[in-house]
């Protein structure tokens, strides 16, 4: 192992890490929001819409991110959609993540006992309020873990952005690998950075879980 390599490529790696975090945060938060809206529309919206959502979910979820990104970035210009690498990266990230999130939220909705929603309707609570106060806090119990999972998975999907020349972490480590003809060091660096993100994500997930399962802890 050559520590000297890390000194030489440190700044580039850190820069890549920054870009990775930027795309990951923007993409996954956007994905959560879009996914949540999709799940709500699917549940409360008109019937025809839920078909559209179904098709969207199945197609986007069913095809690889790399290909979606490729089509968006390299195929987009043919229909006049010219995006910068980072723009394309974040956009496709939001699009790619949203159906997964929508499905996770759907499972959350299903986990709430019907009786509790009936009770809320009986006191005349508006549906949005029911969603916010009765459904959401409780559905977080079964879905915090899958949400954490998917955030973690997305950290690593950022690597695919290198295909469209987003200068993210993998992009930088590949440069390092190719220029120095080493492979252990770059992968080590890569793993370390991802591991850091995963650690923090997992920790936040655990905290959220603790908070939302408070009422289940019996004295």
């Amino acid at each position: 192992m050559e520590t000297e390599l890390f000194v030489r490529y440190g700044p580039a790696l850190l820069y890549g890490f920054g870009i990775t975090i930027l795309c990951w945060l923007a993409g996954s938060i956007g994905g959560v929001i879009v996914g949540f809206i999709l799940a709500c529309l699917n549940r409360w919206g008109p019937h025809a819409l839920s078909w559209v959502i179904y098709v969207y979910v199945e197609i986007i979820r069913g095809t690889p991110f790399m290909i979606q990104l490729f089509i968006l970035y390299y195929g987009g210009p043919y229909i006049g959609l010219v995006l910068s690498p980072v723009q394309a990266g974040i956009t496709s990230f939001v699009v790619y993540g949203s159906p997964y999130f929508a499905e996770i939220f759907r499972s959350g909705f299903n986990a709430i006992p019907k009786g509790q929603i009936e009770a809320a309707r009986c006191v005349g609570m508006p549906e949005t309020r029911i969603l916010w106060r009765i459904i959401l806090p409780q559905m977080l119990v079964p879905i915090t873990a899958p949400l954490t999972n998917f955030f973690i998975i997305l950290t690593k999907e950022t690597a695919i952005l290198s295909v469209v020349t987003v200068p993210e972490l993998l992009f930088q480590t590949q440069t390092m690998a190719a220029e120095t003809f080493t492979f252990v060091e770059p992968f080590l660096a890569l793993s370390l950075f991802y591991w850091l993100m995963v650690l923090v994500t997992g920790w936040i997930g655990a905290k959220v879980e603790q908070r939302v399962t408070r009422h289940l802890k019996r004295a």
Binding site: V163, T165, A177, E179, F181
Partner: protein, 251 residues
Amino acid sequence: AQADLLSDIKAKGEIVAATEMHYAPFDLLKDGEYVGIDRDLFDEIAKDLGVKAKYLDLPWNSILPGLEAGKFDFVVAPVTITAERMKRYNFTLPIGNATVALAKKAGDTSISKPEDISGKVVGTQKGTAQLEQLKAFSESLATPAEIREYTNVDEALADMAAGRISGVANSLPLMGYAAVQRPGLFELVMPPFGDPKFFGWVATGDENSKSLIEAINASLLKMHEDGRLKAINEKWLGSNPDLPTTMPDVK
């Protein structure tokens, strides 16, 4: 693994060679079959060695780890011969021309010679020796070109087709082949530029593989003499790249 690699291979009667079948015209997968300059050359070499050749397709980032882990014996992917790389690996004699050349979009009249990329956006594969050459060349121009790095040449070509960049620089054989394959889309800009560079094949850097390298080199020289090398190159490139028969001098 104390024993000599060459004698191991001979004992097995088989040499396992890895490459990325994604580097036309050296390595490509056509109709499900591995073909290309590397394939034709190495088939001949295996014949000379008296062993069967078995080919593996691996992405570039796992070829070197695989070589060191002993998952296969040899790398038949074209690797540009550089000083830094020679420190870690044993190279064979040159098997291809790695000098940089430029491809442009067919019909693009604004570029007629390499110098015309001045001020334009040019793509290339990152981490390659050609990238270094392109950078140096671009610096020498009045207004340097903006250089964009891709993980693969395919993506650079796709982006040129999509109109984001005006040129793609890579080794001459590669660019020439692309232009031949999609004549309406890509066009080669002559001449190549930068320092002359060559591709070689690679084995592990240790003593074990020295004898294998020597045997392959001997076989390559033989092919230089009997015209097989020329025939194979002409088949794929339409011309003979005029490869040196000694190890090129790299700084």
